[in-house]
Amino acid sequence: MNTAEELSGKARTLSELKPLTDKGYAQGFVTDIEQEFAPKGLSEDTVRFISAKKNEPEWLLQWRLKAYRHWLTMTEPDWGKLNHPPIDYQDAYYYAAPKKKLKSLDEVDPQLLETYKKLGIPISEQETLAGVEPRIAVDAVFDSVSVATTFKKKLEDIGVIFCAISEAVQKYPELVQQYLGSVVPIYDNYFATLNCAVFTDGSFVYIPKGVRCPMELSTYFRINAENTGQFERTLIIADEGSHVSYLEGCTAPKRDENQLHAAVVELVALDNAQIKYSTVQNWYPGDENGKGGIYNFVTKRGACRGDHSKISWTQVETGSAITWKYPSCILQGDHSVGEFYSVAMTNHYQQADTGTKMIHIGKNTKSTIVSKGISAGKGQNTYRGLVKIMPKAEGARNHTQCDSLLIGDLCGAHTIPYIESRNRTARLEHEATTSKISEDQLFYCRQRGLSSEDAVGLIVNGFCKEVLNELPMEFAVEAQKLLSISLEGSVG
């Protein structure tokens, strides 16, 4: 086939792909609900306001202030392959909460219930069918507060704590004080330090010794109010021999402005404990001209403190105008295992700079990294990862695989892997490929009666399969749908 034919064939396929684009961002609605805000802007007063609203103990306020004062001396990191206008930290609300206080789940504002219903999130326990074991417990975070946590009672019976972090501060202060900031230190980085100062809510999970959490725990984050940033903080502790699977989802209304989301997630796994953390990130990505969208600057880190512990991160990143996120594992315990499975998709003007860090400290530690980047439209997608082997990590093992798929010729796919090895018995492997969807693949699918959009969807899903397989079933289905929706308008 000569180039001209090839090009016209390509143009044809691209134009046929267009109809794929009309599904839109279904979560882009706004809920009209009475809310109260902190005064606009960021100052020590804002920090004190948030702390007072949450009725926090003095040590936490001091911790926040310490973070805030240090944050003032820091500069925003600029090493990511990201372009955005400077963020005005004073032009945002750092606290927004629905006005009505609730005493029980039954009192949840019907409008909120409606919102979550529209999003397909079950925040009412009654919704589960009689006689069927519930599979998911949900903590719903709306702007700056947790509005509902389901199946709390049922979980408490077996000793599992699953509640809003603000509630944990009141009820289990010693646990929070012991672990908060122990994985992501207070001065870790610009956005994490900012989060320490102004974090509002998020989930707290504690799984006691030897308990296998009987249902998936899930937090659903929703940014609703205008001009607000969301700064949530999640802390999960898996005590010896315990096991937990945690899911996280997020959406926001369509707005022309860029909203900041700077979260911190800390995981601690003790001896023989396992934590599986799955994310489907679907923040509003901005429109096809790159207007609006969430700036997602997130610090996620897990510490495998105990021997034979395991932390597994799975993420599907389809939303956000900017994603800056590196879920990492510190493999301290001997024989501990870290995993990172990621699909990142950028379309239109979206930019993603995401990856992981695997720090091998203990003996025979093992890590696996599988990253799939899909760039379409004018999207820029970067995998940035570090595998570091410390001198005592005898027999450490890492395998990294990064694949990029390019759709259209205006996008970019970048891979920046760092390998640092200081132990000769350690073995590290990294491989990366970059490709596009070939005409042959498309032709084959269409010949079998698939429409162009189904064919692209099928190929993209196949490309991501290794990662999607890692997701809990309910999420995998959602993620597959999301991927095809996010591809919309990527061609032509």
Partner: protein, 431 residues
Amino acid sequence: MQSIPTYLSQRIAGGVLPADLPGQQHAWLVQKREAALLRFLNNGLPTAQDEDWRYTHLRAIEKETFHLADQSTPTQTIEHMTQDFCGSAVFVDGILSKTLSKLDNLPAGLSVSCVREKLKGQQADDFFPAMIGADSWHDLNTALFDDGAVIDVAAGAVIEKPLEVICLSTKQNNATAYHAKNSIHLGENASLKIYKSKISNASHVIFSTHMNHITLQKGAKLQRIVLSKHADTTFTFVHDDVLIHEGAVFEKTAINLGGKIIRQKTTMNLAGENAYAGMNILTHTAQDGTTDALVDMRHNAPHTQSKQLIRSLAGGKARAVFQGKITVAQIAQKTDAAQNHQGMLLSDTAEIDAKPTLEIYADDVKCSHGNTCGALDETALFYLRSRGIPKEEAERLLQQAFIAELFEPFEESLRDSLMQRITDIIEKGAA
């Protein structure tokens, strides 16, 4: 800011260029040198905060006192990479030695001269184009270069036999410093092989910068082999900047053995369709030095191809670094780029750092990179030993097999002699 060696602070004291530099009569050159010196003084030497210098720390350089090279007679014997060469250019402490070089009977179309020669007289053109990724070392070199090779191949000239370039260092008690600027230009459809060896004795303390400007016109072909045996007290900063036009083929094999701080940077601009760049690098460092190979491959035209093969071995307390980057511009459709780095740690205190980066802005491309790091394969070792091969011998064989891939494209005699020399140097520390 990283402080500069004392020799340098004396040589450029007060921001004034030394009077002994060649080409003082050319206003353009003085201007160029002064501007470069100003930039160098403003920017200083790179620090660990610079992304490209994350792994190579320059502190060790502060401790050494260097002196200007005195170009006395070298005590080393010249070892040839091949006996069958068309000419031989010998540089002593960075200055071309007329007595040691053999440049009288060069084949037609090949001209070999030196920078000092070119700058003699009242008329001289600027024969150094701007470099991609020029850094502080480039500025320092531009300000202070004393000599270098100027190699030119006329259009259509195909030089069969290789040209030999040998860099020697004089044996003296004082540490020497020199700055060389080389230029290689191949006209359309010209072809040349350059075998370069840079050998220093164990007692040599050397600080040198080498800026190599290389241009390949349409359809030209250059094969370049650089074998460097550095003393454990050598600080060398090399930058090859290669411009590769349509259909031209550039192949480089760089062998870096030993050294205190060795930085070898190669920037390649594949500027025309069907241009090809091949890059093979062997790093072996086993004392307490750092060897840092940086490859910046830029595909700026469609149908261009590049291939990189890098093997790093680090023993003792040494550190081997590889930083590779492939950039594919939006216009460079149908690019085929491959990069493969393998590291081998030989001791418990050595370190290998690798950063193979891909930056891709075109969709119809084939790009891949692989990167591994580990020790000798225990299973393979066991297999050999179970066949009655002693442990040391088995280790040696496996190490040889690890690096042999780099030399596979070469003809047998060259491959064997290179492997033999490398093995000798690694095992006996012989030059």
